[in-house]
């Protein structure tokens, strides 16, 4: 991107505010933005990873879901839900291979994109980024491990409670909280994040609503009793977020 572009400064600012890129010197951030091209993708754009894995992407606005599905049963599981400042195709950056994952935009998204070779070159030139990247990768691995163990070990109520808690600010002491990224998702979408189906999630949310634990209505989810939700998740809120 040309530094004279009207979008350059806001792109750099978005990266500086993200947990992955914050702390990097301004010149390193400006360097990666200069190497990138800016793209916008419309909401509900679906594309397999084979079409994207040769470029590294960083979200500037909007949300992207990475999922896998079974074409025979039609069932789908969401592996990652990404928001502004987060990268995707990061596994391909590491191993140079395409992965069997479907991308879907949940909003109109704006992103930065650069060829994998450029991204690796930038990584070589800015090794200080590894101090941020490695913990981020660790979080991603923990998230996948959490999903696998939730699916194998816990019932739907626990899985749903843990999903919501993972998206609540870890520092909140209030009983009321608005989950980040997932608060406006459909029940079907929430079900696809915990390996369940819409009717089960809908029934569980209605049950919690009657108990005063959440306020859930069409396209909106709020936690009203965080401590009780943590109890349903069978752990303390801060553990669930780990």
């Amino acid at each position: 991107m040309n530094p004279a572009s009207a979008f350059f400064e806001e792109s750099a600012r978005c990266l500086k505010q993200s947990s992955l890129f914050s702390g990097l010197v301004a010149s390193a951030i400006e360097d990666i933005v200069t190497r990138c091209r800016r793209e916008t993708w419309k909401r509900r754009r679906q594309l397999p990873m084979e079409e994207t894995w040769q470029r590294f992407h960083i979200l500037l606005s909007g949300r992207v879901r990475l999922s896998r599905s079974n074409p025979e049963s039609g069932r789908m599981i969401t592996l990652f839900l990404l928001g502004p400042g987060e990268p995707f195709c990061i596994f391909s950056l590491l191993d140079g291979k395409a992965h069997e994952v479907m991308l879907e935009t949940l909003d109109d998204v704006t992103l930065l994109s650069l060829p994998m070779s450029e991204a690796r070159l930038w990584l070589d030139e800015h090794p200080e980024f590894n101090r941020k990247l490695l913990p981020y990768l660790g979080e991603q691995m923990c998230s996948l491990a959490g999903l696998a163990s939730d699916l194998a070990l816990h019932d739907t109520e626990t899985r749903l409670a843990r999903l919501i808690l993972r998206h609540v600010d870890a520092n909140t002491t209030d009983q009321h909280a608005t989950p980040r990224l997932i608060n406006d998702l459909s029940h079907e979408f929430l079900a696809e994040m915990i390996g369940s189906v819409r009717v089960v999630v809908n029934r569980q949310l209605q049950h919690w609503k009657q108990e005063g634990i959440v306020d859930a209505h069409r396209g909106h989810l709020e936690v009203e009793a965080l401590q009780e939700l943590a109890r349903r998740a069978e752990e303390q809120p801060h553990k669930a977020l780990a």
């Binding site: 991107m1 040309n2 004279a4 572009s5 009207a6 979008f7 091209r37 800016r38 793209e39 916008t40 993708w41 419309k42 754009r45 079409e51 606005s61 109109d108 704006t110």
Partner: protein, 171 residues
């Protein structure tokens, strides 16, 4: 219908925009997939207008040579007074998108007619605001319409030139 994938480049002046159009044509891009939009430059000393001679539209004004040449190269020509922007001159398939937006009363809230046309070809709201600002500031937009591969190729070409900004918009 105009394809809802595009690569939009912003240029500081009409010479850069014209050069970019010629560069794309030299690289084999189809004329039917290129649009250009800019402000018809207005001064009291320069009357402005357009007229038809035979099968060619001619532009009459300070940038007559520029728009006359582009109207000869690209498909479609339009000259509008757009509220908030003033006179806007367009060449290429964006003209049909603008006319569709006007005829269908599909002018999207808060946008000018040009903004509605950009919205109808898949450009998101925040980018439209920037593009309208660019036009207002006497910059020029060059739009390449096409499939994902074509707009990526256009980006390769345009990013290497004088463009102030080049963005890909995918539907």
């Amino acid at each position: 219908m105009v394809e809802e994938n595009s690569c939009v480049a912003v240029y500081d002046n009409h010479r850069q925009a014209e050069e970019a159009v010629r560069c794309l044509l030299a690289k084999g891009f189809e004329t039917g997939k290129l649009s250009i939009a800019g402000k018809g430059y207005q001064r009291e000393a320069h009357p402005i207008g357009f007229y038809n001679t035979g099968d060619r539209m001619k532009f009459w004004g300070a940038q007559g040579a520029f728009w006359g040449d582009l109207w000869g190269l690209l498909l479609g020509a339009a000259f509008f007074w757009v509220s908030g922007l003033g006179t806007v001159v367009i060449a290429g398939p964006l003209v049909s998108a603008l006319i569709t937006a006007l005829e269908g009363a599909a002018v999207v809230g808060g946008f000018s007619a040009l903004g509605a046309a950009l919205y109808s070809i898949g450009i998101p709201r925040d980018s439209i605001v920037r593009y309208e600002t660019a036009i207002r500031s006497d910059h020029y937009l060059l739009i390449v319409h096409g499939d994902q591969r074509e707009v990526a190729q256009a980006h390769e070409v345009l990013a290497g030139g004088d463009a102030r900004d080049v963005t890909i918009h995918l539907s």
